[in-house]
Symmetry: C2
Subunit: 309 residues, 2 copies
């Protein structure tokens, strides 16, 4: 049976770039192999950014190349700009994800470009893709789609307009990210529905954060309105934690448990997924890992039918 | 504007009876006053059980009597049996809640009675109510409604049949409790819908646990199918924590944040609610409190319209 939702693991990128320590390359590869072994079929393994800014990602090309040796999954890389995209495409990544902020304040603060300037950058990256690696896919991830720590409310019209511009520019799909943990289920349903009405099947992943505890409720809300790709991070690593215990990213283990318990097949083996916490912990000694399902264990009588793709 | 959902705070009962320490009575009363001040309109303040079993609840009558002096809210007490019910009714509680387990294994282990024997106990309590305090309400809370740590799966037919028997016996409402943190949103929707089809407006509260991180997602699912009363506990105190960090009860602060962010009025002032953590912490020094919203703070631009009932 084929999976009904795609869990896109972002830990090796979003998680590792958010912690102070740098995981040694060999440890990254062991962790990525364990994630692959659990049945995950999409993974964000690296950011292509200057090593002086993010030394944790200095081995991005090597990590991508290793991940490509594991069969049957989509290897993604985050790229902030054209230069990063070129490096990621040359490394052979199957899919690039480019964050584009819906909040002008956040966009200017982060990349010194307005959202509309970023649409131009996306066009240039698409041209580069056509030239260097025509089969590679490009996703735009609309960050601060549900609110911004700088400007506060982000008007939904701005998000829908930006999604439409990105789709028109030619990206393969447009995801919505709750970068700041401000989303609520009503807003998630409304915004994904509006974006789908505008760009149809180019509507991409829900990237939710658990900053205020609503991560899974927001994923459920997105699922309810037809979203079928969900970003999450093993052990809740990464995201934007404001305080100890307040994890940023949705925890992959809890997300997979929710869907599997609902009878929605993820293709991921929960026991193997939880076992993939060991190589993560070994590679980042002392780093706190989150996740309620790993702490509580699977319920008595819980039988998981794992899809064999 | 009237609240659209009723948040039923269970911390002083479910929370305090789950921790080892006994909160001094004076501290309980300060905490209860702070909870009342936040706008909560229903509270479970005590269990009427023998003090040798739960010394934390030895002051149940005094606590109920104090709570009754605060205007405009429903003061509830948990009672395990006829004897507890009599004491609670004599103390003047507005509403009694009686747990009735849907799992025969859990029921026998806990109260040495089958679920059907418990329906008889409920009838006796209803007769006592009619005699001693005819205006008091009686709720039956179906525990292990979504699964049991002893018997594993609890057949949905058993839950629906029990709910129907309890309604037929004459209780005012029947809630469903995820005692063991095994519920998932699909099951929550299905089971509340089936129970409502059977007993209509006697369908009561959703009492969800956050054991595996699904607490808020399950509350959202229950809301989606018409549930309007939600049990939760300030700081996530109580429930059945299996491990540090794995809180049992849904955290009131996060639940209120979710609804208010969705534009669903709770009548609760989030700032005052979070301030009510201080008297809780003072009364239970060293006890860990949970809650993502208190850690992260309210989002920039978050405006809450508090209903004045």
């Amino acid at each position: 049976m084929l999976p009904e939702v795609l869990i896109s693991e972002v830990g090796p990128r979003d998680g590792l770039q958010s912690v102070k320590a740098t995981m040694p390359t060999a440890a990254k590869l062991r962790w990525i192999a364990a994630l692959h072994g659990s049945g995950l079929r999409e993974i964000e393994v690296a950011s292509f950014v200057p090593a002086r800014l993010l030394p944790q990602m200095a081995d991005a090309a090597e990590v991508v190349q290793y991940a490509l040796t594991l069969p049957g999954w989509t290897v993604m890389a985050l790229v902030p700009n054209r230069k990063g995209a070129e490096a990621a495409l040359r490394a052979g990544a199957h899919k690039l994800t480019l964050p584009v902020s819906a909040s002008e304040a956040h966009s200017l603060a982060n990349v010194r470009k307005t959202p509309l300037d970023m649409v131009e950058e996306v066009r240039a990256i698409l041209a580069l893709r056509d030239e260097l690696a025509p089969t590679a896919k490009i996703e735009a991830g609309v960050s601060t789609a549900f609110g911004c720590t700088l400007q506060g409310v982000v008007p939904e019209d701005d998000v829908v307009r930006l999604a439409a511009a990105l789709a028109a520019a030619g990206v393969d799909d447009v995801g919505l990210s709750d970068t700041t943990g401000m989303a609520n289920p009503a807003q998630v349903r409304r915004l994904f529905q509006r974006v789908r009405a505008e760009i149809g099947d180019k509507t991409g992943a829900a990237h939710m954060h658990n900053t205020r505890g609503l991560g899974l409720a927001n994923c459920l809300a997105a699922y309810d309105v037809g979203v079928r790709t969900f970003d999450s991070s093993l052990g809740g690593l990464g995201g934007c934690p404001y305080a100890p215990g307040a994890s940023g990213n949705v925890v992959t283990e809890d997300l997979v448990f929710m869907f599997e318990a609902m009878g929605v097949r993820t293709g991921v083996d929960l026991q193997k997924l939880m076992a993939a916490r060991a190589p993560l912990a070994e590679g980042l000694p002392g780093e706190p890992l989150y996740g309620m399902t790993p702490d509580a264990g699977l319920p008595k009588g819980f039988a998981q039918e794992v899809a064999h793709a």
